[in-house]
């Protein structure tokens, strides 16, 4: 692949200008028909680099030094009009989460037609067939909301290709595709590069895809954030004897608002032994989180009986006894929202001590230090505000806060889903250790089967609000894997992790489900 390089980048430094740079010394040359892959753990700046290539560095950051030429244009010095023309005709960018990057109100025909070079009526139809999508009128009339995850991703790709670009930038192209679709994608990208001479640069987590089609690979350095404390990964936590059942749920059902006829959860039984760890798994929308919320009393419109040590629990937390509310604690999912941004770590940790008067006033500072140590965090973090901590650190403080009340049951609602693999593993190990030391009973709600297999004894699998299977983790997971294995994954969440773009708070209107 000779001829002028489509992308020429040398000595690129990108950063906020003050403080450490996110990207340093980046060098990249991509020729026509060549596929380059940028790999590295999440949060290391892969997306930032991709966006930098078309002069769209995320707000707050800038390209400090370095040379960058794309399709023969110096991107750094380009005027807005020049840059706009470059993006319009020469470069196609396909971001992560296509469901939210396609205009929800435009139909597929308009989405493709808007960018198409050949404005003919059958242009969109040919594009769709290239991406093995039926070019039927019915599909062309649909809106993004009416497409499946895979279809949305391919329509986004089609839209990028509509302009016959010289360079294609892809951010996690294989996320959300099942094995068959990923193979097709690989074929398509290879053919685009070989036959149409399109240069492709992709940020990718999927080792398999990278190995199969990438001509060159650009690994980005390890993350600069503080290293999480962890011990070596034992194969499996050794099994402890399951104690007497501390939490019993019988015939639990739940619904939203005033529509009991469409239950989110129906007739689910739950058995949690003291000191045991049982997981709740299932595709998103199966009712996992709802079950957790019913247990901690956040979901009022629920029925069925829930007993803590034989004593009935009221569906609403406010109506439960003080001791009952102390013994069941929740660790929330989204690290961004798990701590009150206006309160220091110390204040957040002191509150449970005061509320359940776990210790006299003068001992509280000492107790806070102990809690921080228990979750593996340094003492000086106590006076920081949450926004100064990383996602992993924030989840640890949330766990410490729950421990402050010395609970018997700890409900962890997808606590690892927003963390990268290393941090997630560390959190699970921490929970396992706490369970052993304090005889805690854990309910771990997660869709990460690998972690569930490694760290829990019991598992309850849910599907469409019904209990699919329950019992020891290894047997249940094995049984379900034989039955086609797709029961537990869903179109959105791949076997790996769906990386939620860090920094973007969940949009206010997003309903909580799954």
């Amino acid at each position: 692949m000779t001829g002028a390089a489509v992308v020429e980048a040398a000595g690129l430094v990108v950063g906020p200008g003050v403080g450490p740079a996110v990207l340093e010394g980046i060098a990249l040359r991509v020729h026509h028909g060549e596929i380059a892959a940028i790999i590295g753990p999440s949060g290391v700046g892969k997306t930032t680099l991709l966006r930098a290539l078309i002069g769209a560095v995320p707000p707050g950051m800038s390209v400090l030094t370095g040379r960058l030429r794309v399709c023969g244009h110096d991107v750094l010095a380009a005027s807005p009009e020049r840059l706009r023309a470059l993006r319009r005709e020469r470069v196609g960018f396909v971001g992560q989460d296509p469901a939210r990057r396609l205009n929800p109100r435009m139909r597929v025909r308009q989405l493709l037609g808007e960018m198409a070079v050949d404005a003919g009526p059958d242009g969109p139809r040919r594009l769709l067939s290239e991406l093995s999508l039926p070019g039927t009128d019915e599909l062309l009339r649909r809106r993004p909301g009416q497409l499946s995850g895979g279809q949305q991703r391919r329509v986004a790709l089609a839209r990028a290709l509509a302009r016959r670009p010289a360079l294609l930038l892809l951010d996690e192209p294989s996320a959300g595709l099942d094995t068959a679709l990923r193979a097709e994608l690989a074929e398509l990208l290879r053919s685009l590069a070989r036959r149409h001479g399109v240069a492709i640069v992709m940020a990718c987590h999927d080792r398999e895809l990278v190995d199969r089609i990438a001509d060159q690979v650009l690994p980005l350095g390890a993350p600069t954030m503080s290293r999480p404390v962890e011990q070596p990964l034992p194969e499996r936590t050794e099994r402890t004897e399951p104690g007497p059942p501390v939490l019993l749920g019988h015939g639990l059902s739940a619904w939203f608002g005033r529509h009991p006829e469409h239950p989110v959860l129906s007739d689910v039984d739950l058995r949690l032994a003291a000191g045991s760890a049982s997981a709740v798994v299932g595709p998103s929308g199966a009712g996992k989180s709802t079950l957790g919320r019913v247990v901690v009393g956040l979901h009022a419109s629920a029925s069925g009986t829930l007993e803590l040590d034989g004593v009935r629990l009221h569906p609403r937390a406010e109506r439960r006894g003080r001791e009952q509310r102390r013994r069941v604690q929740l660790v929330p999912q989204d690290p961004l929202g798990s701590l009150n941004p206006r309160r220091t770590v110390r204040a957040s940790l002191t509150r449970p001590l005061v509320l359940h008067d776990r210790c006299p006033a003068e001992q509280r500072p000492g107790r806070v230090i102990e809690l921080l140590a228990a979750v593996g965090l340094a003492e000086e973090l106590a006076d920081h505000y949450p926004d100064a901590l990383s996602g992993g650190q924030r989840q640890r403080v949330a766990i410490a806060r729950a421990l402050g009340a010395e609970p018997d049951v700890l409900v962890c609602d997808e606590v690892t889903s927003a963390l990268d693999p290393e941090n997630a593993e560390a959190i699970m190990l921490l929970l396992a250790r706490l369970r052993r030391e304090r005889g805690l009973a854990l309910i771990v709600i997660s869709h990460d089967l690998r972690l569930v297999a490694a760290h829990t004894e019991q598992v309850l699998a849910l599907q469409h609000g019904r209990a699919l299977a329950a019992g020891p983790t290894t047997e249940v997971l094995a049984a379900l894997d034989d039955a086609g294995g797709t029961a537990l994954t869903d179109s959105h969440d791949p076997v790996g992790r769906a990386i939620r773009p860090a920094g973007l708070p969940p949009r206010a209107s997003a309903r909580k489900d799954g």
């Binding site: 966006r51 078309i54 769209a56 840059l83 706009r84 023309a85 470059l86 993006r87 319009r88 005709e89 470069v91 196609g92 960018f93 971001g95 989460d97 939210r100 990057r101 396609l102 205009n103 929800p104 109100r105 435009m106 139909r107 808007e114 960018m115 649909r142 809106r143 993004p144 909301g145 009416q146 986004a156 839209r159």
Partner: protein
């Protein structure tokens, strides 16, 4: 299409709830007018009328019957379209149905003007967020926020009617009762300008929110021109917010009309309302509120329909 049916039933449910709310409001208004000091008989009879005449008038107006009974009779009439008789003897329906169309014309034009100008101005401001135009627009929006209609009306009459002599200072009705078009310009401006401030800020905020949506960022990375981005990708997302802003403006436009009608001698329902309150005329006040309330209900339904249509394919 079960979804259409579900959506329509939801809208009708919404309408039903609002009709109940209107009924509650009418109870409140009817009662509050009745509890005002002095009653309709004292207000509409000649001064120095003897106690006997006063008592006779009260009996004639039915003021001696308990409030609940009078209200029940009035509401009963409402269902059959009979709005009862005003304290001065004319049927409420005649008084209101002559004046209401003029106010609807004034309010409608003002609302239309407000929404169109607000959306265009907000779009201009969004094209270059934080730019000089954006700051200028938000400054003028703040000024118009605070200026009550009568201040705007007084200045408009002074400048355009009395000094420049371009426009009529007063709305003269032709024999047929309709108002000459050029006599409408100043009243409509006087009602619309105070509403502009709110609506510009609302649409501006909605546009700013929508601009943070991922699909707008994607459209920018696709190199679309600013204007296309605005029209095809931003505006459709903002329609529900614009509809909501317009509907809440209706109540305020009606309030403004009441004030402006006195200054421009405009034959609208506002003047009737203020006099009815002075006369402690519960049926007339409640009648006006019922008809204007029904009007607003219709507009609320329209706004819901716009919101439903705008979010049609996206759920």
């Amino acid at each position: 299409m079960p979804r259409i049916v579900r959506r329509v039933t939801r809208l009708l449910g919404l309408l039903g709830r609002r009709v109940v709310l209107l009924a509650v409001l009418l109870v409140g208004v009817f009662a509050s007018v009745t509890f005002l000091p002095r009653d309709a008989a004292q207000s509409t009879l000649d001064r120095g009328a003897s106690a006997a005449e006063l008592a006779a008038r009260r009996a004639q107006l039915g003021l001696d019957q308990p409030l609940i009974e009078r209200f029940a009779r009035w509401m009963g009439g409402l269902l059959t379209g009979d709005l009862g008789t005003a304290a001065r003897g004319q049927p409420v329906a005649d008084v209101v149905l002559v004046a209401l169309p003029n106010t609807v014309l004034l309010g409608g034009l003002a609302l239309g003007l407000t929404v169109i100008v607000a959306v265009t101005v907000a779009c201009l401001a969004t094209l270059r967020p934080g730019g000089p135009l954006d700051r200028l627009i938000s400054a003028t929006a703040t000024v118009t926020l605070a200026l009550p209609e009568f201040v705007v009306a007084s200045v408009l009459v002074l400048v355009f009617a009395l000094w420049a002599g371009l426009l009529p200072a007063v709305a003269i009705t032709s024999a047929g009762g309709s108002v000459a078009p050029q006599a409408l310009i100043l009243p409509v401006l006087a009602v619309a300008i105070p509403q502009l401030g709110w609506n510009v800020r609302l649409v501006r905020a909605a546009l700013a929110d929508e601009a943070r949506a991922p699909h707008v960022d994607a459209a920018q990375l696709d190199g679309l021109s600013r204007s296309r981005l605005l029209v095809r990708h931003l505006l459709p997302g903002v329609l529900p917010a614009v509809a909501a802003a317009a509907v809440t403006s209706v109540g305020l436009v009606l309030g403004g009309a009441i004030v402006v009608e006195a200054i421009f001698n405009y034959p609208g329902v506002g003047v009737v309302l203020t006099q009815a309150v002075q006369d402690r005329d519960a049926p007339l006040v409640a009648g006006v509120v019922a008809l204007t309330g029904a009007l607003i209900l219709g507009l609320l339904l329209l706004a819901d329909a716009v919101r439903a249509w705008a979010t049609w394919g996206t759920r």
